[in-house]
Symmetry: C2
Subunit: 398 residues, 2 copies
Amino acid sequence: MHETLDSAIKSLATPKNFSVRLGIIGGGQLARMTVMAALPLGVEVIVLEKNPGSPAARLAPDSVIGDWSDPETMQRFAAQCDVVTLENEFVDAQALKVLEGAGHKVFPSADCIALTQDKLTQKQALQNAGLAVPKFRAVKTAEEVIAAANDFGWPLLLKTRRNGYDGKGNFTVRAESAVPAGWQALGGGVNELFVEAFWHFSKELAVIVTRGRDGATAVYPVVETVQRNHVCHVVKAPAQISPQIALQARNLAARAVETVGGVGSFGVEMFLSATGDLAINELAPRVHNSGHYTIEACDCSQFENHVRAVLGWPLGNPLMVAPTAVMQNLLGTERASGQPRGLENALRMTGARVHIYGKMFSGPGRKMGHITVLENSLEEGLVIAERAAQEIYFGTKL
Amino acid sequence: MHETLDSAIKSLATPKNFSVRLGIIGGGQLARMTVMAALPLGVEVIVLEKNPGSPAARLAPDSVIGDWSDPETMQRFAAQCDVVTLENEFVDAQALKVLEGAGHKVFPSADCIALTQDKLTQKQALQNAGLAVPKFRAVKTAEEVIAAANDFGWPLLLKTRRNGYDGKGNFTVRAESAVPAGWQALGGGVNELFVEAFWHFSKELAVIVTRGRDGATAVYPVVETVQRNHVCHVVKAPAQISPQIALQARNLAARAVETVGGVGSFGVEMFLSATGDLAINELAPRVHNSGHYTIEACDCSQFENHVRAVLGWPLGNPLMVAPTAVMQNLLGTERASGQPRGLENALRMTGARVHIYGKMFSGPGRKMGHITVLENSLEEGLVIAERAAQEIYFGTKL
């Protein structure tokens, strides 16, 4: 009996045969932090990424090195996974549709990715659901940009419908004379563009929402995001706003993710006006930089909840376990090694939790890591995070 | 200029060339949790372990599969590491001495491992330093056990000097008639044994101490450990003891680690009597089961502090960030797959943080994972941890 059991077990003895296998398309820092959340749940992760030394693939020994734009690679990858998810919204939705058609489980779904990766259709969907968004309009010519400005006023935001992130794919047009420059900068005529009314915000807010396959949601606290050069610089959790506005923001975020049929952790970025009005800036169908603080600050992080959600498991508690958290990004300044310098000095700052992403190379503005600080007040946390971040650099010290 | 920089970088482009590389001898759950703490610090970890599918080696792609009792394997391994550390105290100290002699950095040192892996010399060192330990005596024959009982009384603990853990290598001799059975059970005459007076404790306590290469120490809170069948079952942090006793326990632990010249995170197990006396039970020269709660409950975990200590980096803050933490072990009951069942039900318990170790196989009493719960009171935490632990099983449900 014992012998039979043992041989039965031995026949299952490769890790491939007894784990739940989660596939992640993309191997950057978001995938890496997802892998680190998945491992303690006994989940096997397989990453699909072009570069062999990617931050996530190095923790996932069975990973597939390949291009997600190649259908055959995608099929080979999906065949090894119980569930496929993604760390970015740039994967071709049609390719995901093909995987679904072949019977693979993909979360968020191909339809959700199609809807959200096109920022115009995303905004239309949110608006159709009655959710507040800035005014917007598709534009086919530079003349239509000027026509829109007659309705929306200057400045005006010109945006690409697809593939924008961290300010890339956005152009602020301040006057009619700048329209040709903006049109050219974003590749108007080749790329599909739209315009958006400039929203005079007093704060930028963000909410992570995790939505399960059964529609259950975990809504994280509202945070304030501070951008620098269109890249997330600091996140303050929770945002210093009234409980009423916090509640509205959380509801808005949850409804937005429901509207697009999201499954998994989503980042919902919002504007708050001086008069207390909220509008959704955009929604990312994936774990989000504004939610990195949840690793230490929340009972269940955005990463663990993403894993739970896409696997169809119960969601964890999104509440904070500390009074406040501050997250500050560590950005590269030049092409250099991805290995940090000055780390020892940063570690002298009590309470600074350092996350280095393990990228091979640094580059100007590249996200290389982040620091999180839990403190009794945001003021204290901001000081510690800034001091620790100042110590760490990649390449030459500025 | 840019070209030159780029090609200079490319020549460094394998991960081997730009990371701090920490070698860990042993690839079990302790090494795995150390790897997970090392990665966000940008540290590359290389594991030496016999089995290719070990919990830690699967996260450390450059790991060495081999036997640490083979000198050539050890040399090959050490040559790839900047610093070598260990996840267990059973590695031959002489082999570590050889590595040190060849110029490799080994922490804790070979001398420290030699002193502590022999529980008799460990106790002698602690006693010589004036630290409270139960009475003990080396015994060469069964007759000497009986002679010791005349001084120490019955029951008496008979122990092997080396290779004991989790009750293995220990035998409680309750009367003279049981001496031959104990002597035989522990291989007396072949294995070197010693006896120890039975300490009537009211509580078992433990303290994690991390000591840096510069002698700086981080002393974690005192916890109460509850054993079941000589294996750690539950850890309650902090222990419900008076501040005076907590201070004494922390001092005792810190002095013990200093006495043996420890570098890294050490687990110090103690007895507390009903009258408030403390004595050191034993010291483990490595991260310790009683410190798993520090992953979520402390600003800097025992694992991260171990990495910092052995690399010569500043230590992190050992203080708790939550009022209480409960850790409960998940043990195997039979030879079966290492993949948990019932996980989804456990995840329904809000606040239960599940850690599955990713072992290939379960076995009776084998440590397969643990659960940590942060709560406002230990009572609440104990209920949640127990309920979640009850849901998870390996193999057949009991």
